[in-house]
Symmetry: C2
Subunit: 198 residues, 2 copies
DNA sequence: GTGAGCTTGTGAAAAGGATCACAATTCCGA
DNA sequence: TCGGAATTGTGATCCTTTTCACAAGCTCAC
């Protein structure tokens, strides 16, 4: 379920005490209904206590496990522009098992520059790094014009999941998972709702 | 529907000739089924021609209108770090009615610096700019710690829609629309599918 | 120990999407 | 002009998700 990350985020924003949280409380914070929360969590196995709620710590662990956050997920970022820099410096990685192992760019003037504790490398370094680090997630932070070839490069190198920030639909083999994050799309959805205001 | 922006993107990536496109073709590019495309487009009113397809230009216009892209949408960006810079320099704005009218930061050393054709301003300038420009969309590109107060600032200033890039769930009045874009969440969804691979 | 007050887990009903399948319509070549 | 190929629009069906409702279970105060 796509809601698990939200629950996890909410749980982590909660104070340590009390040690339990009710589905209603969690639902309020996450802006969903309590029934939805309970159904979602029951899908992970029933670990709540009736009359009390869910143990926050235990629940965090459970969601983490379900999301695969107990494993190590090395990540490569292609594109060292503003967006790539923002991603490379993003703090939320360390605690979650995601670890940026390489940042790459086609621009020779950027190669060799330090960025977020790493050094920007050339695109030709991707296949080797992917293999030696067992990288399964690649992030496309390039301009739209380079997105498709970057996607090809990543899939050929053996990356199984791609997070695409470029505003184009990239074509990949059916075995590769892609998620698109596009500013224009998000803005369009916002303005759509503004126009069709309820 | 959240698929309209994708269709629009696909249509714009298509060459000028031929002037029409079939639901099947569009579906292939957008990675959905042709029935879905037809249902979605019929919701906009029936403007396809049987045996031929949809007129691309007319369809673009129709989707644009539905998404409200024929109107002007001034946008403010709060946070002039790497992410804010990436957004301010993002090219996809001009053609779409979205227009960045202000970039703001709390850091005095950043205020006054040029950024994407604008000048970084102080947070106190937000309410005035929002009102004088009729801004209805605000983008939060601050660190997580400043996200909530930024959201408060924006809603108080009269912004009706917020695009939040900070990895926290912000609380806003129920009349305000929020969309969250969070790298950690996206990565978690990707790794979830990797763990539960089909 | 008992009753009152919460809260979970879950079956059943409702709602919402997605898919199927095909009649209706158009184009085009002969 | 006619027949066949292509393509839309949409009713019917299926499947997934959401919501509802409530019995079952836990805690606490007295």
């Amino acid at each position: 379920m796509a809601r698990l990350p939200v629950y996890l985020q909410c749980l982590e924003s909660l104070p340590g005490r009390p040690a339990t949280v009710s589905s209603q409380t969690l639902a309020d914070i996450a802006s969903v209904t309590s029934a939805k929360v309970r159904k979602d969590l029951s899908y992970l196995g029933s670990h709540g206590v009736r009359g009390v709620g869910y143990d926050k710590e235990q629940l965090c662990l459970l969601i983490r496990k379900e999301l695969g956050l107990t494993e190590d997920w090395p990540v490569v970022i292609v594109g060292a522009g503003n967006l790539g820099s923002a991603l490379a410096n993003y703090g939320g990685f360390g605690s979650s098992g995601y670890r940026v192992v390489g940042v790459y760019d086609a621009d020779p003037s950027k190669i060799g520059q330090p960025l977020g504790g790493l050094t920007v490398q050339a695109l030709v370094d991707i296949p080797g790094d992917v293999e030696s680090n067992g990288v399964s997630i690649g992030v496309i932070a390039t301009p739209a014009s380079a997105a498709q070839e970057t996607a090809d490069l990543l899939t050929t190198a053996g990356v199984g999941s791609i997070l695409n920030f470029a505003p184009v639909v990239v074509r990949v083999p059916s075995t590769t998972r892609v998620r698109n994050v596009d500013l224009a799309t998000e803005l369009q959805i916002l303005s759509y709702y503004s126009v069709h205001a309820r």
